[in-house]
């Protein structure tokens, strides 16, 4: 969110702050600003710490490594992969809904505008976890379409829950991008007798499409970081599986660091390239305008 600095005076009173608010590209910038070795180093440290620090009641290093290796495939294929699947679907639904909600924010119809505004405010300002709880518990476990019952798995419900805040935030990105197109574009198109809908879909949206990609990807990364929340509602994913694995291995405290450390590490490995790519795109677009 760029703060507009007053143009009335020519004094160099204050420089434009470099920080972009968390809902701009702050997150990606951060991820990229981090040296690539930082998190792996921290994770290794965390895995070694209990071995060094807590002599009794501790499994030996070999045993911990054995346990980790044993669970690794499952944590990845049944655990983290699930986070990724959830994040994909969430982004898909959130983007589609957000696009229309964003269009509603700039609609000509005042009622549509107000309702869209209210929707955005409600879902942007409520905690993700609250939305997750509400959606998980109110959605039925199966939907009837025609005569057939289609089961809705838990993770799918979680997707809907996470989609709501994503939708509201994408809507703001869409609105911002649309409003950043100079009004001269509208006037030019109107003078060529385009209808409002045509102008929006054929002229305005294609223009601001590029502008939306970096913040959109930034939100993908933020939302991916939120997927472990679904473990609190019993959906199987990385954190759920890690806790089950630790239980299966006798709940030894020395396993806590390696398992949670691994969870932190895997998220970093996944999000870091995305953040890099986001920033590359942003600077590329910034150059070309």
């Amino acid at each position: 969110m760029a703060h507009s600095f007053n143009q009335r005076t020519d004094l160099p009173v204050i420089l434009e702050p470099k920080f972009k608010a968390p809902d701009a590209l702050g997150f990606s910038r951060w991820l990229v600003g981090m040296p690539p070795w930082a998190l792996p180093a921290v994770a290794v440290l965390m895995m070694l710490w209990p071995i060094a620090g807590h002599a009794q009641a501790v499994y030996s290093a070999e045993k911990i490594i054995d346990i980790m290796l044993k669970w690794l495939p499952l944590l990845l294929t049944k655990g983290f992969l699930m986070n990724v699947v959830i994040s994909f679907f969430t982004m898909l639904f959130g983007t589609i809904a957000g696009l229309f909600l964003g269009l509603g924010r700039v609609s000509e119809n005042g009622a549509v505008r107000s309702i869209s505004w209210l929707t955005v405010q409600l879902f942007r300002n409520s905690p993700w976890l609250v939305l997750l709880f509400i959606v998980m518990l109110t959605l039925p476990f199966e939907i009837r379409i025609g005569g057939t019952y289609i089961p809705v798995p838990d993770w799918m419900k979680a997707v809907f829950g996470l989609s709501l805040p994503v939708m509201a935030n994408i809507a703001e990105i869409v609105r911002g991008a649309i409003q950043s197109v100079p009004s001269a574009q509208w006037e030019a198109a109107q003078s060529l007798a385009f209808s409002r809908r045509q102008i929006m879909w054929q002229i305005i949206l294609p223009q601001c499409f590029k502008r939306m990609i970096p913040p959109w990807m930034n939100w993908y990364a933020i939302m991916t970081m939120a997927t472990p929340l679904v473990s609190l509602l019993g959906v199987t994913e990385l954190v759920t599986l890690s806790r089950q694995a630790m239980e299966a291995e006798g709940n030894n405290p020395s396993l806590l660091m390696p398992f949670f450390g691994f969870a932190l590490l895997i998220f970093f490995i996944y999000c870091y390239p995305i953040a890099r790519f986001t920033l590359r795109l942003e600077s590329k677009f910034a150059l070309k305008g």
């Binding site: 007053n6 009335r8 005076t9 020519d10 004094l11 160099p12 009173v13 204050i14």
Partner: protein, 256 residues
Amino acid sequence: MPASTTTEQTWTQDQPIVSIKDVRKSFGTFEVLKGVSMDIMKGEVICIIGPSGSGKSTLIRCINALNDIQAGSITIEGQEVHDADLDKLALRKKVGMVFQQYNLFPHKTALENVMMAPLKVLKQPKEEVEKRARTLIKKVRLEGKENSYPGELSGGQQQRVAIARSLAMDPDVMLFDEVTAALDPETVKEVLLTIKELAADGMTCILVTHEMAFAREVADQIYFTDKGVIVEHGAPDVFFENASDPRTKEFLGQIL
């Protein structure tokens, strides 16, 4: 004040109030001042002119210890400025500085800008400071603007607040670095008038300026710098009519 009172006592009014001797200053390997000397007597107004990049700002910043120097000496009232154990506060009290970009504190009103240093730095009582600040604001012809923020003032008005702010510390020497360069021609006059009045009151002033007519009118001495040295100096009439050095002639030829 723990300032070295002994040196202050040895300084008398008939000695130069600011004395610059063979000052050398480099940024890295780039030498900006290559041995600059000048003496300024109390109450004198001197103008430094010269092409861009010749080191005028650097010199003036060295006088105020905003920059350090590599060789030579600068004394103010007999006190060495670039002395490691100099009491910086004592120096700042003696030397006021006004910048090209005004550099007011944007979150304080004009009056608060003027009052801030005496209050926070000198810890003087508020009523007294406020009274003096109001007088100073009046002096720079800004009555009625006491409660305006810098953002609500024109460039010329801001610059005059900046002058009042420096004067509030009751300095013996004022430094002005191209204080009208950022202003439009209309407002330049107001600021120059303020400086002229200040000079007439007997304030010792060192000005860097591109306003030749003003320099000619107000200065007792004009110094011309080029590439880090003082090429020549003299009283305004002599300087402008009979510049001897070809570099000065060329510069004046471009400007006048």
